[in-house]
Symmetry: C2
Subunit: 220 residues, 2 copies
């Protein structure tokens, strides 16, 4: 395994209220093999779900026109851009020339809104998955869904699994394995509560209530 190939060019959409870990899980997985472009309308920092600011490194104009991976994170803030023609236009334009068109979490709804999942199988955060039907996509309950060059991941932490799947496609299994080892990705969740079925109705209700409060901040 040598770094003989050109780095992957990855365009990752930013927007206010994105989910920080949706972005930096995959970005970390790709980082040894990639140039990352964090793309937004302007160069002004955006504030993520956890309060951390992220600074764009490119705008819709300066982002490379040909990308290996176009990536869209989810987040409560996406409600405000679901009909934003500038954002959807950027996604549709770059998608037409990207090797892979991808998302994690509810980012798949933005791909859908840009017309990019019509007739594709896809996934999303468990709370948002059924919304994919609205855009002509077929929701699949899976951690990572690959349909032709569309690769979508489930909620938040699924971005790590997603990243390894995409990296293996673009740079081979060994690249993904050495990355997994360097990131010591040998998970041991301390509770069995990572899916609605495992967590049970009371925890689901509590999570929904926290999520509704967050959503309120972004739409209120």
């Amino acid at each position: 395994m040598k770094q003989t190939q050109l780095p992957l060019e990855i365009g990752m959409l930013l927007y206010p209220g994105l989910t920080l870990l949706d972005l930096f899980g995959p970005q970390t997985v790709f980082s040894w093999f990639a140039n990352t472009h964090l793309v937004w309308k302007t160069n002004d920092p955006i504030v993520s779900d956890t309060g951390i600011s992220v600074h764009p490194t490119a705008t819709f104009e300066t982002c490379p026109r040909e990308l290996d991976i176009l990536f869209v994170p989810g987040g409560f803030g996406q409600q405000k851009i679901m009909n934003d023609s500038e954002v959807l236009g950027f996604l549709a334009d770059r998608a037409s020339r990207s090797r892979y068109v991808t998302s994690v979490c509810s980012g798949s709804l933005l791909l859908g809104a840009a017309g990019l999942l019509k007739g594709y199988k896809a996934t999303s955060h468990w709370s948002a998955r059924e919304g994919l039907r609205m855009y002509g996509a077929e929701p699949v309950e899976a951690r990572v869904v690959v349909d032709r060059n569309r690769v979508t991941g489930g909620g938040v932490t699924a971005g790590i699994d997603f990243g390894l799947v995409v990296l293996a496609k673009l740079r081979g299994d060994d690249a993904a394995k050495l990355t997994q080892l360097a990131m010591e990705y040998d998970p041991e969740p301390p509770f069995n509560a990572g899916s609605p079925a495992a967590a049970g109705p009371e925890i689901v209700e509590q999570a929904m209530s926290f999520m509704a409060a967050e959503m309120e901040k972004h739409t209120g």
Copy 2:
């Protein structure tokens, strides 16, 4: 589960060359229950391992004096501050008044250098774990190690498991479970390569070679 308690006050050390996901895995886990302070010597942005810039929100002077959690991420850049009396002094000072003194990845070596792990069991990234002995700590091969109020996590992605363990201690199991569910932490690594034993000698060698090249950038 209501937000009736005051938010947790969390001080997270920044430094150039830290591992981005060491920081933002736990920060995301804690975020619904916490005020995060990203602390460095100055307010100037630092550049992380993946090339992403992170902006401090506090300095060693302005960071709250009493913290619920003092947290240290790992990273190749830590070599340069292992003997930095300003950094080690800050850690020792805040640790004396923090409810939990914590790290992920090779961050435990910095805790050790600050004299904070003498006589404690602790863990680290698999490649750095044995180094803990140098500081009088007892290395343990585990994802998360709790010894009195010291809680240390393994490499990079172990920060998510670590965060859930610490959150459960401070805000109860339900808080950790609803967070795990919201983050859809139901991992499905696409390969079995998350530990040296599982990955096998060839992948270990490749990972070590990539890690050595990164280390070179920070010490060369």
